[in-house]
Amino acid sequence: MDDYAIGVLTNIGLFSFLALSAYLLLVAGEMSFGQQAFFGVGAYAGGILTALYGWPLPLAALAAMALGALAQFLVGLPTLRLRGLYFAMATLAAAEMFRILFELFHWRVERNGELAGPDGTQGFRGIRWIFEHGIEPVHYLILVYALLAVILLLLVWVERSRLGAVLRGVGLDPELAASVGIDVQKAKLGVAAAAGALAALGGVLYAHHNTYIEPRNFDIMLGVHSLAYALIGGLGTAFGPLLGVLLDIGVLEGTRFFHGYRMIVFGGLVAVLLVFRPRGLLDERMVLWIRRRFS
């Protein structure tokens, strides 16, 4: 494989974490415009820990995930009782606040004789842990997909368990779920924390893949993209969001066939697709059909 293909494949994997975090909230009935914030929190936290304080990447990733979970939990606490567009706007406001705080965030530390670290709008360069430790791009690719596989197995297992039924219940009809004794607020807060951790993990991996991040990376465009990935891929299974990312980055960017017109083609495709499949390609009915067919 050439470097270009490896880069595209790695990106598909990275953004799948973000799409999965949007998907989790959608399944629980909430539309977030703000997942990019926790992706950004993960990227900054992970980058600071490895590049400035010499932490090993796995430890930094765990810390970043904890921070991402905490951040989304705290944002969710006052907002998860809001419904529909109110919640979407509250998450958008929170995410834009995070982005502006990244712009105001300066944490310069001397490292090997020169200043390094986040420098406001100038961004944060030199997140070079994987290069300093001699990790080849192919190995990083395998690492990303191994982590993604673990997360997917976990999500599939959860969806088949009682917990999965609880989450779908909360998403489809919160009043009904509450009437059978489910604590809706608690369930949604749990989902929010998990979504924050997932987005942050994607962010750590993104920062170390790119070696450079800046506040502009984490704007509303990224957030709505992840929402779109989850929705076009389908809300029936955790594989849906992956399909969404694959369609966008993989098919269109990978082939370069639509070079220059990519968003015009993709945008039209998405809008037309949603007319016929408003819950995505792999929606609940499709998943059921596939299961019947192959079991």
Partner: protein, 290 residues
């Protein structure tokens, strides 16, 4: 100090006038559809780019440019309505919103393909010196913006409260099912509301680019965010609220920019929205927004 406060308030009200028009367009669409149209700002941008393109190639004058901006906005708005909202009526709100985001991407890429430079000059509304009123300065284009916005609001009020079409729109906003039973052609009302909202947006977009004297592809995102913010601040779905929300946003921005700088200006506006939503202040959460 007091003079600064007054000067900032003047600037804030003129900026807020444009925000109020954006918010009114959002509110009209939200009122009849219960959906947020993310492609609203990008559709306005389409109109503004159409005007800029005409100006560059044929050197059209100010009035013609205004007409082209509005017509382009309405055309783009109709495209959005047909592809994103008509098919999802009574269906999934999330699907409609994501579809409108997909078209946003289309408009933005179209703008950068047809006119690849990041920034284009747009003929200014007025080139002369600002008006001096004692210690205060008033930009003439700001006054034009304010006057046009007031005129547009008056016209909108007349349409909504004094015409048969307005009666139909208000009926659809209050009771869509009953309106349909009473013989109102709801889909046709929706199309015309979209056209009306896009025309309002076109007026606001024209005023903004003409008073800034330039246009960039950021205009789409900018007007969607400002319009959404102003609409939410004034209370989702309320037309007077949209005007107040727009003015409030303009004032908050002008004062916080003066005291804290441009980054804090945006931070404070978003913080205010977040806190008001989290506190569930009564005027913001009365309308259902599923």
């Amino acid at each position: 100090m007091l003079a600064d406060l007054i000067q900032n308030s003047l600037d804030g009200v003129t900026a807020g006038a444009a925000y109020a028009l954006f918010a009114l367009g959002f509110t009209l669409i939200f009122g009849v559809l219960r959906r947020a149209n993310l492609a609203y700002g990008p559709a306005i941008m389409f109109g503004c780019y159409a005007a800029t393109w005409t100006h560059l190639n044929f050197g059209a004058g100010l009035l013609l440019l205004a007409v082209i901006t509005i017509a382009g906005g309405v055309l783009a708005g109709a495209y959005v309505e047909r592809l994103c909202f008509a098919p999802h009526r009574g269906g999934s709100a999330i699907a409609a919103m994501v579809a409108s985001f997909a078209l946003w991407m289309q408009f933005e890429e179209l703008a950068t393909i047809v006119m690849p430079r990041h920034l284009y000059a747009f003929p200014a509304l007025y080139d002369g010196p600002p008006l001096e009123l004692g210690p205060f300065t008033l930009r003439i284009d700001g006054l034009v913006m304010l006057a046009t916005a007031i005129a547009a609001c008056a016209l909108l009020w007349w349409i909504l409260y004094r015409s048969r079409f307005g009666l139909a729109v208000r009926a659809v906003i209050e009771q869509p099912a009953a309106a349909s039973l009473a013989g109102i052609n709801v889909p046709w009302v929706l199309v015309r509301v979209f056209a009306l909202a896009s025309a309002l947006g076109g007026v606001a977009g024209y005023l903004v680019v003409a008073s800034h004297g330039q246009i960039t592809p950021m205009l789409g995102m900018w007007s969607t965010l400002k319009g959404l913010l102003a609409m939410m601040l004034g209370g989702l779905g309320s037309l007077p609220g949209a005007v107040l929300g727009g003015l409030a946003l303009g004032l908050i921005e002008a004062h916080s920019q003066w005291f804290f700088g441009p980054q804090w200006r945006d931070l404070i506006a978003y913080l205010l929205l977040f806190v008001l939503l989290a506190a569930r202040v009564p005027w913001m959460t009365t309308r259902s927004a599923s």
